[in-house]
């Protein structure tokens, strides 16, 4: 099928049956054609993502759970080369683990490159984030469709197309092309309950690293207040890294390291 009659399902079918990769981002903190509530959270992005995943994975909620991830590490594991091809996979809350920031981490750049070569392992990757600008730039460039959830149960599909800029041939101009709009219902009660448990579990995976980072951050702020080391020692948690040559390093935050560079310090070490 060609031309404007195509809807998102046609593109999904093409991807599944003809070995394409379609990347969809579901957002809500933005507005397209439909007047939007413009809310970042709680509007139903994940609900829609899971419905799409459900219909593409043979209406099997078990498969939806298996093929939904919350962090890029689990995504890479899900798409391990040589594993069976999945019709759809969902990456929820991309901004939580791959946010837009200056200086994109190398791991995320590699992930974006990896995804472009992973057509055999997945046909449709559905991501959710409040806004397209809240996700890491290399992932943003993979997005072919933006589905905007204007309010609970209402969505519109916009295709991201590029036009040549004839004055500047190396700078294509991105545009949104309205495809269609529609409605969706809430998840079944038992799926919603299981989803909520899944989400808590997934967030808990990220929590220890966040807690450690916050601990170091707060300690670092205390350090900034007490500029003089004579005012007392600080306590922080830091990883120990093997440096080669039988030596090990203790990695401390940059802000503290800068102040102590080439100075001698006294360390009291304990297992965290």
């Amino acid at each position: 099928m060609t031309g404007v009659e195509r809807d998102l399902a046609d593109y999904f079918l093409d991807a599944i049956n003809n070995d394409y990769l379609i990347t969809v981002l579901i957002t809500s903190h933005t507005q397209g054609k439909i007047k939007s509530q413009n809310l970042p959270f709680g509007v139903g992005k994940t609900t829609l993502a899971w419905w799409l995943n459900y219909y593409m994975n043979g209406r099997d909620w078990e498969l939806v759970f298996q093929r939904s991830v919350y962090n890029p590490y689990d995504l890479v594991r899900l798409l391990k080369p040589g594993t069976e091809r999945k019709n759809a996979a969902t990456w929820d809350d991309v901004q939580a683990t791959a946010p837009a920031e200056s200086g994109v981490p190398r791991a995320l750049r590699r992930l974006a490159n990896f995804l472009t070569t992973q057509r055999p392992e997945v046909a449709c990757l559905i991501m959710t984030a409040p806004n397209i600008n809240s996700i890491s730039s290399p992932l943003r460039k993979l997005v072919l469709f933006e589905v905007i959830v204007a309010e609970r149960g209402k969505y519109e599909v916009q295709k991201i197309v590029y036009h040549k800029n004839f004055k500047r041939p190396l700078e294509d101009i991105g545009r949104l092309e309205y495809l269609h709009e529609g409605e969706f219902s809430p998840l079944p009660e038992y799926v919603l309950k299981r989803y909520q448990e899944w989400r808590v579990k997934e967030k808990l995976k990220l929590y220890p690293a966040l807690e450690t980072e916050m601990y170091s951050y707060v300690k670092m702020r205390e350090w900034e207040k007490a500029e003089n080391i004579e005012e007392g020692p600080i306590t922080l948690q830091a990883p120990v890294i093997k440096a080669g040559g039988g030596r090990y390093w203790v990695q401390i935050p940059q802000e503290i390291g800068e102040k102590l560079h080439r100075k001698k310090v006294q360390l009291a070490i304990a297992r965290a």
Binding site: L8, A9, N165, F166
Partner: protein, 121 residues
């Protein structure tokens, strides 16, 4: 970002109307630079199509008078001329394309689900 990069597919005349007519007048007006607004409107009207200029001939004279004697500049008068220019531009259809959004097309999740029944699992 240059203007050309922002507006690559808009016809130069529409681009001129928006940038040098609407935006420049708006800026001068809200900043209380009424004499600048008069000059801007006067030059701008000079580039409109002859039929519109013909219908604005009294207003063009008024603008000339205000330019020659700034004491005649009057917000109400300026506003009246602005409204008339805007009305004529709308009548001539310069903003028709911008006003027409894409036609609504409803394809609900259930419709997509029916199509997706054909997927290989």
């Amino acid at each position: 970002m240059s203007e050309g990069r922002k507006q690559p597919f808009i016809h130069p005349f529409n681009f001129y109307i928006v940038t040098y007519g609407v935006e420049a007048f708006h800026k001068a007006f809200v900043e209380d630079r009424y004499i600048d607004a008069v000059q801007n409107l006067y030059v701008f009207v000079g580039w409109l199509e002859p039929e519109i200029q013909e219908r604005l001939k009294n207003e063009i004279v008024e603008l000339e008078m205000m330019m020659m004697n700034p004491r005649l500049v009057n917000v109400a008068k300026l506003r009246r001329i602005q409204l008339k220019v805007s009305k004529l531009l709308h009548e001539a259809g310069y903003f028709t394309q911008a006003k027409a959004g894409p036609p609504t097309r409803i394809v609900g999740l259930e419709d997509m689900a029916k199509k997706l029944e054909r997927v290989k699992t």
